[in-house]
């Protein structure tokens, strides 16, 4: 077997030995599988929460408040991960939180896709002034901290599920525009699009039948990663008190409530955050695997 150190000393050639390449693929595959498993857990939990959750997420029981998780002293067998300050079952609330996170993450991405891809294709296909105007707005949006924009939007619109999706959608589209614009420009120079032009196909037909389908893999990868980002952003807005409002079990709300008790009851803040982390990690790992699969050029190796 060739040791990694040896391949390094011959790093003039950019091709690592085949053994190492195989190991890399396995490593990547493993991470991709790990990501898929995490997402499978996430989706299953979201779909079947009412049957899976051990307790009702809203039922309060003041005599059972602030119970620790199962392995600690004083825990109750009814509450696997313990209870919060109102005696609600932490595990059940986290499981119901999965639904909110996924609904917001997916809806926000759909909204971002419609806005971002629409503008990106317009800019890349028509170029000229349309392109300059759209690119300028994209640059302005991307140079500005998302959080401040989203916070202001939600505070003006009012905090509700629908408005959070709108705020995340309105602030998250520029990255799609940037990517689709470049992809459209590249595609437009390819022969099959030139052929379509010379057949006098309408712009609509060229865009919908030839440009967009060829961008699907790129958009799929980007959207996957953006779902994770939207989930983190939703929980962030909720954590700051401008997202989902209590008593709805959103991970961000639970984290904010748990924060008030973190000095004595650390699990109240730890587990909801762990849920966000695992969800985002799973989606990112799958996104990386998809990227490697669809476009080997993007591999970091």
């Amino acid at each position: 077997m060739i040791k990694p150190a040896l391949s390094q000393s011959f790093s003039i050639s950019s091709h690592p030995s085949s053994t190492i390449r195989t190991l890399k693929r396995l490593w990547h595959l493993r991470l991709g599988i790990l990501g898929s498993l995490l997402i499978l857990c996430l989706v299953t939990t979201a779909l079947f929460t009412p049957w899976l959750a051990p307790n009702d997420p809203y039922t309060q029981d003041i005599t059972q408040r602030l119970l620790p998780p199962f392995w600690m002293e004083g825990s109750s067998s009814d509450h696997f991960l313990g209870t919060d300050h109102l005696g609600r079952d932490l595990l059940s609330r986290i499981m119901y939180g999965t639904r909110i996170s996924l609904v917001i993450g997916l809806s926000a991405v759909v909204l971002q896709l419609i806005l971002g891809v629409g503008l990106g294709v317009l800019a890349g296909y028509y170029r000229g002034r349309v392109d300059s105007a759209i690119s300028f707005i994209v640059n302005a949006m991307m140079s500005f901290p998302f959080i401040l924009l989203a916070l202001t939007l939600v505070s003006v619109l009012g905090a509700s599920l629908q408005n959070i999706i709108i705020a995340l959608g309105l602030t998250g589209w520029p990255v799609y525009t940037r990517v689709t614009r470049i992809e459209t420009i590249k595609l437009n120079e390819q022969e099959f699009i030139l052929a379509a032009h010379s057949l006098a196909y309408s712009s609509w037909r060229i865009i919908t039948r030839h440009v967009l389908p060829n961008m699907l893999p790129t958009l799929l990868v980007l959207s996957t990663v953006e779902v994770a980002r939207s989930i983190i952003r939703e929980s962030l807005l909720s954590f700051l008190g401008l997202g989902i409002q209590p008593p709805t079990p959103s991970w961000g709300v639970m984290l904010a409530e748990g924060r008030d008790y973190m000095l004595m009851h650390w699990w109240l803040a730890a587990f909801p955050g762990l849920a966000i982390f695992m969800a985002a990690l799973g989606i990112n790992l799958l996104g990386d695997a998809l990227r490697d699969y669809t476009d080997p050029h993007l591999r970091k190796y």
Binding site: Q8, P145, D288, K300
Partner: protein
Amino acid sequence: MLAYIIRRMFQAVAICLVISAMSFFMLFLNTDPALMLLPPEAEVADIAAFKKQMGLDRPVLIQYKDFLGRVVFHGDFGQSFVYKVPAVQLIMERFPATLRLALAAIVFINLVAIPVGVISAVKRGSFVDNIFTFFALMGQAMPLYWLGIMLIIIFGVWLRWLPISGSDSFAHLILPAITLGSWILPVNMRLVRSGMLDVLNKDYIRTARAKGLPEWLVLGKHAFKNAILPLVTVIGMQLGLLLGGAVVTETVFAWPGMGQLVLDSIHMGDYPVVQAVVVVFAVCVVVGNLVADILAALIDPRIRLN
């Protein structure tokens, strides 16, 4: 070069204008701004008088022109409704704390990202590299407010090594800086790593090796300097991310900076302060980007000629 700088400066000013307009018109998105600015128990007559006094009964575009004029020529964002002092004064009081936090985070990011990135690149494919890559992946999925809370629980509550809130001493700065920095750390790690990998495959590195230079000289003198250049320009662009992250970090650690100010102001409907912070953030970000672009153009002539 001068033409390039002038062109970029015009763009920067234009972006500031767009953001100031966004922050201004957002107020008109949903409701009558007078209702947002006044307490809910205000009488109809009071509302009318307030509108007249504040000029809110005039066309929106004229109001924006006035707003812009006051901001640009007098630095006047109006009075804070809550504190009854000029919004600018509140920002000036809070600005140094946020700046300190952001600078500490930048120092932390680069102290970690540069050595880790270089080691990853030099030992590419090794166990160490894989471990670092895995940590970078984890870091990208980590919500920074959760990381902050966990750091408080572990280092503040369990181990009692570091203070958990406030901003009195250097020790207070450590946890917030790590929290804020860890957001961007994975990006810079990968940047240094891929920059170093690119350079290591260049002909002049092969030449340096071929003429028998010791490996540490090849890496330290020839490779490292060129690999680090992209980082210089990226730091300026990351200012926006850092300021955004500061809003959250300051909340978690009760750090008395602009982030907390803007969040409190949003909660209390103190709109002049919100507008002022939005515009100040925008100016910081745009200036950061401008400096980064100019540095990039100075370093790499291809950029300014394009």
